[in-house]
């Protein structure tokens, strides 16, 4: 076995699927890339810093003496290292990215440019209010758009992501119950199809979670809901459209029953993209809903974040919204930051400072670009694209809920794979070889071998057809029964083959460790 310069087996036979192997184990432009810790940069730096001009410090033994163990790279080396790594990623800018429930839509670059204007990007969060009026006005306008689009009277902008917004909503609900002498309510009802964040959030604030069953047509089971609603229930958390990609037809009855039981209706807004501009959650009886700006309003996912999760609130919950918030007055905009005075009922604070301003700017630019007409078209095209995929793929695959339209995502089960050796995972991994990111798999949990496909509105018909053609061809190959390695060995053409996740979890290796067991060479003393 040959070894690379970092002591790794290169296994030239890895490239054998093309019948050709390079001498160094790489694949043309796609090269192995060592960790920064393996690039021998212990005394290198890619920045030029002027001398401090004073003694090192007057802090005595508060100063660190041992080396930190950080490698450095010159600028050209750093550029190459990270650009090479970038080439091992799939991205929405490369192809359709059909992750259900994730809303991987095009990220307009205008929004990036706007967020980098020095008036936003270089603005300190504690700049005097008089010197940050433009930022406060933007927050006020963003709040106005979000409240108008949801038909809700109040909003908390500060939560940093969807799950953080859920936390904010449940804390407001908890505070409202306590204010009404209903603090004894301990249960949150969550449908079995919910995102994992819903039960996790409920538990995080000390509630116990009870699941509500689902009907055969993929909706909340009203009979089960009625049976489980009681004076112990604080809230229900329902995603709408739900994670099966279906609109909850009985949503008005769900909210009526919930309110009649003295509980609040938390709506998970992850799927707002399906209805934005057409349906207002406020008209459905919702008390609180987070809006993932990184989904519906296209702020980039960035390989896992950052997001932003503002929460719209009903009249009943508005008084409990966390600090800070913006108030428009005669003399300009004010920021209410203190939870003890003007905000006496506020339940507290979710974050240091004001929330994800960088995302607010991007989302506001996105909204201005679309306008009320464009946003309505967003929902319509997102739903149209999903139904088109559902219709086309139904030729070979089995939709989990064949009757009636879906909303913004199409859900398939694995019954069409019965009798083959191919599982959902194998099929999804084979999609990688065809140039597509897999769909969301095995979620929602209520559908066996679930495959949840969300195309979003920013796909052209040509790309949708390319995607459907690829999946139909794969489906036929899976059913043929004589093409097993295409699936079991997939992916064949990705930067790596299937990874051993069991080994990673059994003996976790979470940081780089020096193979010689000595820390880095003695670094240069600070000047």
């Amino acid at each position: 076995m040959s070894m690379s310069n970092v002591g790794r087996p290169t296994r030239p036979e890895a490239s054998a699927s093309s019948g050709f192997a390079s001498l160094n184990g790489g694949r043309g432009l796609l090269q192995d890339e060592a960790l920064i810790f393996e690039l021998d940069g212990w005394d290198k730096t890619g920045v030029d810093i002027a001398p401090a001009g004073r003694d090192a410090s007057d802090l005595g033994d508060l100063v660190r003496s041992a080396p930190i163990g950080l490698p450095g790279l010159s600028e050209p080396e750093a550029m190459r290292h990270y650009v090479r790594l970038s080439q091992k990623n799939h991205a929405i800018d490369l192809a359709l990215y059909p992750l259900g429930s994730c809303t991987m839509k095009h990220n307009p670059r205008l929004n990036e440019k706007m967020a980098r204007l020095p008036g936003f990007g270089d603005l300190h969060p504690l700049t005097p209010v008089a010197a940050s009026q433009g930022a406060l006005e933007l927050m006020d306008r963003l709040a106005h758009w979000l409240k108008t689009l949801t038909g809700m009277p109040a909003i908390a902008l500060s939560p940093k992501a969807g799950a953080h917004g859920e936390l904010c909503g449940l804390l407001a609900i908890k505070a409202a119950h306590e204010a009404k002498g209903q603090g004894h309510r301990r249960t949150v009802l969550v449908p079995t199809s919910a995102h994992g964040t819903n039960p996790a959030t409920a538990a995080f604030v000390g509630y116990s979670v009870t699941e509500i069953a689902q009907t055969e047509d993929g909706r909340v089971d009203l009979a089960d809901l009625k049976a489980k609603l009681s004076s112990d229930v604080a809230a229900i958390m329902v995603t709408n459209p739900n994670t099966c990609g279906l609109f909850e037809r009985d949503i008005l009855e769900i909210s009526r029953l919930t309110h009649a039981a003295g509980a609040y209706f938390y709506c998970d807004g992850a799927n707002f993209n399906a209805i934005v501009g057409r349906v207002r959650p406020g008209d459905l009886g919702v008390d609180a809903m987070h809006i993932n700006l990184h989904k519906t309003f296209s702020t980039p996912h960035g390989g896992g974040g950052p997001g932003a999760g503002p929460v719209v609130l009903s009249e009943a919950l508005a008084p409990y919204a966390p600090a800070p918030w913006v108030v428009a007055g005669k003399d300009g905009f004010k920021l209410v930051e203190d939870v003890t005075e003007e905000a006496a009922q506020a339940f507290g604070r979710m974050v240091a400072f004001q929330g994800q301003m960088g995302m607010f700017v991007r989302a506001y630019a996105y909204m201005l670009s679309h306008g009320s007409d464009g946003l309505r078209q967003v929902a319509e095209d997102a739903v149209l694209n999903a139904n088109y995929i559902k219709a086309r793929l139904s030729a070979e695959m089995t939709p989990a809920f064949p009757d009636g339209p879906c909303m913004h995502e199409a859900l398939f089960d694995d019954s069409w794979l019965e009798g083959t050796d191919v599982a959902t995972l194998d099929f999804a991994k084979a999609m990688i070889d065809e140039g597509f990111h897999p769909m969301t798999m095995y979620f929602p949990l209520v559908v066996h071998g679930a495959m949840l496909i969300e195309p979003t509105e920013t796909e052209s018909k040509q790309e949708l057809d390319r995607f459907c053609d690829a999946l139909l061809a794969l489906a036929r190959a899976a059913k043929s029964g004589n093409d097993a390695d295409r699936f079991k060995g997939a992916p064949h053409l990705a930067p790596l083959r299937r990874l051993d996740e069991t080994q990673a979890a059994r003996k976790p290796k979470l940081t780089w460790k020096s193979p010689t067991n000595t820390v880095a060479p003695t670094p240069l003393a600070a000047e």
Binding site: R54, P128, A163, G196, V205, M350, V351, V383, D500, A505
Partner: protein, 448 residues
């Protein structure tokens, strides 16, 4: 509309394939009462130029940190970020990818996260680090709740030097979960006051160094006392550049280190997005919140990276998860990693030395202002001063001289009764001319 590729002909053809008469058919499940036939009362779509014009006008109403003398710190710091960082994080493959759940086509993001975790562990002097939290403040709250899981105790003690926003976030979240939070009164140099509050029910003590007043403290003795009582020590740092000069939390006995990483690679952004650094001792790894990236091999023995120990996380464990966090701060973690790779140990130490030197230059200049008193005994790059007549008024007045003089402590904690305390900060971006302008303007103000 420039972001929507479908044409009217496409839509008609697609409806035909679906077997629907109109788009309204696809929304048939929406109750009639909730269907809106008309557009909501908001402006119609706009071109790129018009949007840019509107946002630029708003941006112009703000005073960027780099526009002149500027001395705010207190949890967010003005630093120079190399141009390379912003270029790389805008590459499509990093910017427009999702959480790396499919590792075969996400090795770029995953290897970066592994490098990030390794860098954070090295900086904090601890064994393991996660792949980021939203920011330092939420990381602090998560650390307190993690201490509850580890110790099975309900009480947390927050020092009076902890950033008041961090304390408020921790109180809000940990209190909701049923923990008892004791927050000591705000004090400039009293991290050790937590010693008296530790008892047999204490899950953790939270101290900050440098603290919100800038005071640097060796917390070794606090660690010993906490451990003797079976409690964990959580050390918070809001200025990550200080790791280049000061003893690490791990070196001083911290069990969990939480830091705001904004200083390295991430801009000010009016408060977000930032990146929370979270590290701990290896034995606690299964109680950690958030994503972890680990090394493994692929089917052919090639080294690769995956998200691991997911059984702690909400998408697997649901209500039994260690945290509800899902989306984190991935792109900011990338920016942090690139900037720190460019700095290296050499650059970080030099950068820290320059910050420390500029802050002492600032102290020397402000100490000469008649009536002004420097309150912080030992500091890295920020410290507190007493301004006769009140800090908030002085900040407002100095704005007229285009000097952003710092953060009145009363803005962070109005109830503390420290209305004359001003928090000031200098970094490598601070010039001698900035310092002179501040001192001159402050002299004028104090003399009034």
């Amino acid at each position: 509309m420039r972001y929507l590729p479908l044409t009217a002909a496409d839509r008609a053809q697609m409806l035909g394939v679906i077997g629907a008469k109109s788009i309204d058919d696809l929304f048939a499940d929406v109750p009639a009462a909730a269907r809106s036939a008309k557009l909501f009362d908001l402006p119609l779509h706009a071109g790129e130029m018009e949007v840019e014009r509107e946002l630029s006008a708003l941006a112009a109403l703000n005073r960027p940190a780099g526009a002149g003398p500027f001395f705010c710190g207190a949890g967010a710091y003005k630093h120079h970020v190399p141009a390379t960082v912003d270029h790389i994080i805008q590459r499509s493959e990093f910017l427009t990818s999702y959480t790396p759940y499919q590792p075969e086509i996400a090795q770029g993001t995953l290897q970066v996260l592994f490098e990030f975790q390794s860098q954070v562990a090295a900086l904090t002097g601890l064994e393991v680090a996660n792949a980021s939290m939203y920011d330092g403040s939420t990381g602090c709250a998560e650390a307190v709740m993690m201490a509850q899981r580890v110790t099975r105790r309900e009480k947390a003690i927050l020092s009076g030097g902890l950033h008041p926003h961090y304390a408020a976030v921790t109180q809000t979240i940990a209190h909701a979960e049923g923990m008892e939070i004791t927050r000591l009164p705000a004090a400039i140099d009293a991290e050790a006051a937590v010693l008296d509050a530790i008892d047999a029910d204490t899950a953790c003590v939270v101290v900050q160094t440098p603290n919100v007043f800038g005071t640097v403290t060796d917390v070794t003795k606090i660690a010993e006392a906490a451990h003797a009582a079976g409690a964990l020590l959580i050390v918070v740092t809001t200025e990550a550049v200080s790791f280049g000069l000061l003893k690490s939390p791990g070196e001083m006995g911290a069990d969990i280190a939480v830091a705001e990483g904004q200083s390295i690679g991430v801009g000010l952004n009016y408060g977000g997005p930032y990146v929370g650094l979270f590290a701990c001792r290896e034995k606690f790894v299964r109680q950690m919140p958030g994503r972890l990236c680990g090394e493994t091999v692929d089917a052919e023995g090639q080294r690769g990276f995956v998200l691991t120990l997911s059984t702690r996380e909400q998408h697997i464990r649901r209500e039994k998860a260690t945290s509800n966090i899902c989306t984190n701060s991935g792109l900011c973690a990338l920016a942090f990693t690139i900037h720190l790779s460019l700095l290296g140990e050499k650059g970080l130490r030099e950068l820290a030395a320059v910050n420390h030197a500029r802050a002492r230059d600032l102290r020397d200049a402000l100490a000469k202002v008649s009536g002004v008193e420097v309150l912080t005994p030992r500091f890295f790059n920020e410290f507190a001063i007493r301004v006769p007549g009140g800090a908030a008024g002085a900040v407002e007045a100095l704005l007229a001289d285009d000097v952003v003089a710092g953060v009145p402590f009363s803005r962070l904690d109005p109830a503390a009764g420290l209305d004359d305390v001003l928090l000031v900060c200098a970094t490598e971006t601070t010039t001698q001319a900035d310092i002179a302008a501040f001192a001159t303007a402050l002299s004028r103000r104090v003399a009034q």
